[in-house]
Amino acid sequence: MNKRPVIFDTDPGVDDFFAWMLLNASDQFDIKAVTTVPGNQTLEAVTRNAKGIYKLFNMHGVRLAQGSPRHMIKALDIHSGHGPTGLGNITLDTTGVELDEYRAWDVIYQEAVKAGGELELIAVGPLTNLGIAFFKYPDLKGMIKQITVMGGTTEEGNMSPFGEANIYHDPHAAKIVFDTGIPIVMVGLNALAPCAMTKEDMLKLMPECLDSDVRAVCTDLVEFRGGYPFCDAVTVAAIMDDRFAEWAEYGVEIETRSPLTWGATICDKNGSYRYFGDGDERPKVKVAITSDRVLFFEMFREMFTHYCG
């Protein structure tokens, strides 16, 4: 079976760490590049974390590119529960890891051309790098097979009543992405709760043989932020196995104008455009409604075996 070529756009981030770990352990994916974006921490901090994770997981041969230090229009507003470094209090060893000579959007474009229409993007931070890529390269939208977004919500938000952080921080970039018409998979806040994982849960899933460095980092991170769902990892899980989530197909609009609601992912749940509005022309986004705790834990168990010493 041909592996799915993917680029992972990330702002590590505790849950980004586990998403990356899951993605890297799966035999479904051929990771072409990892690109960084500010969100859980500044670009500088998350890029440093990305270098450390890259080294820990021995990602040799995968491109690692830095993205935008700022969002497209809204001011940068770093606030998260991911601690001073973005990975709790952990500072990973980055010795010898070099960044790509190109920036995120250029790497995305170059890899899209190479992959001949097969490239998938997995974005688990604000959508700034993707927004810039589609802005700089309008023809890119004909070259991407699928975009998976951790972000948005069909219910309440976290940053504001209806704004989920990844969309809220850069709604304009999100609008660019959602307006491309490329098939989008949206895993938002509403779907995550069943997959909350505590430290005790995770320790039970770790095998004896787990590499001691990896074990130490995982344990520190789950200690720091355990009990929450690892949003980004749930998102990767959702595209590994279609049975992982219950799905709905909605037209989705991103609000960019109103300070009260910007970053809201407005889902046309009731067919309003078709019955009352201007017709049902909007591309359908595949939206996760809920997620599967048992399957998620199984995926983690299997993932850990990939990192045995």
Binding site: S160, I254, L260, T261, F276
Partner: protein, 324 residues
């Protein structure tokens, strides 16, 4: 037991007719007046419809006052109303000539007169766009404190109807809605989502038809037409949304609510007309958000989150029985 003095502000409307029947059948409510507003149809039509309903029920003693026919800042968008309620706003049932006339007083002035003369605080149940209620608040600020509460059918929390984010009554006049939500008067919001979770079935309607009462037959005729738009949208059960605003006043135990801050969005490209309710429970996020927005977190609204469907239907059935 003292009855609750109530003014129903309405744009009948099939579901409005159910709300009116429910209110008139209840010994807990004292319906002081029915005021009319544009919405489901023009205010001329909705006034006519109100008179027809009262005539049919033999309650021509209830004063009807005609209110505002145009939303605060925008023309009346009738397209949704016509789709759901037909050209007249109450297509389907055939009425004879009404046996009553509207009073010669603006709806807003009649509201003020009733509120001023009432010994107790008065409750409002608006079932249409909030033009009249906003005008009352703007014209008679000294009477605001004599309003007990406003039980509104309108608004949207997690999804709308006319747009994915906005519900019709608010969408038609978002500015008026914001005047009402920010007035300081406690609001109970029966959104399109909560009302839509308590839909009536064909079996329920059959029960009403078999009551053998005038009101039961009328209910059947109303539903014959009102069903059509629901079926067009793929529903096999029906949302009699407006009657919730009244049912809550009769038996609040049917409803669960969440007390929070609601603001109406006036500027969004996709969210204009959304009643933005803060449904978050994480107090840390909430307090940080309101600080950064330089706003105060004021709990101005009881958002209905859950409805006991069967109890609601039973209340309607009892009303149709009692009215005869």
């Amino acid at each position: 037991m003292r009855k609750i003095p109530l003014i129903i502000d309405t744009d009948p409307g099939h579901d409005d007719a159910f709300a009116i029947m429910l209110a008139l059948s209840s010994d807990k409510l004292d319906v002081k007046a029915i005021t009319t507003v544009c919405g489901n149809s023009t205010v001329e039509n909705t006034t006519q419809n109100a008179l027809n309903i009262l005539t049919l029920l033999g309650r021509t003693d209830i004063p009807v006052a005609k209110g505002i026919g145009k939303p605060m800042l925008q023309p009346l968008d009738r397209s949704g109303g016509i789709k759901v309620h037909g050209e007249s706003g109450l297509d389907g049932p055939v009425f004879g000539p009404p046996a009553c006339q509207p009073v010669e007083m603006h709806a807003v002035d009649l509201m003020a007169k009733i509120v001023r003369e009432s010994e107790e605080k008065v409750t409002l149940a608006p079932l249409g766009p909030l033009c009249n209620i906003a005008a009352f608040i703007l014209c008679y600020p000294e009477l605001i404190q004599k309003i007990e509460r406003i039980s509104i059918m309108g608004g949207s929390v997690f999804s709308g109807n006319v747009t994915p984010s906005a519900e019709y009554n608010i969408f038609v006049d978002p500015e008026s809605a914001q005047v009402v939500f920010s007035s300081g008067i406690p609001v109970i919001m029966h959104s399109i989502g909560s009302t839509g979770s308590a839909r009536v079935s064909d079996d329920d309607i059959q029960v009403w038809r078999e009551l053998g009462t005038n009101a039961g037959n009328f209910a059947g005729e109303l539903m014959d037409f009102y069903k059509l738009s629901s079926k067009d949208r793929g529903f096999s059960s029906y949302n009699i949304c407006d009657a919730h605003a009244v049912a809550y006043l009769i038996d609040p135990s049917i409803y669960e609510t969440f007390h929070t801050y609601v603001e109406v969005d006036l500027v969004g490209q996709f969210t204009r007309g959304q009643t933005v309710a803060d449904m978050r429970t994480n107090e840390g996020s909430i307090s940080r958000y309101y600080q950064t927005q330089h706003k105060e977190f004021v709990k101005n609204c009881y958002v209905v989150t859950k409805v006991d469907r069967q109890a609601y239907v039973d209340l309607l059935t009892d009303a149709l029985k009692k009215l005869g």
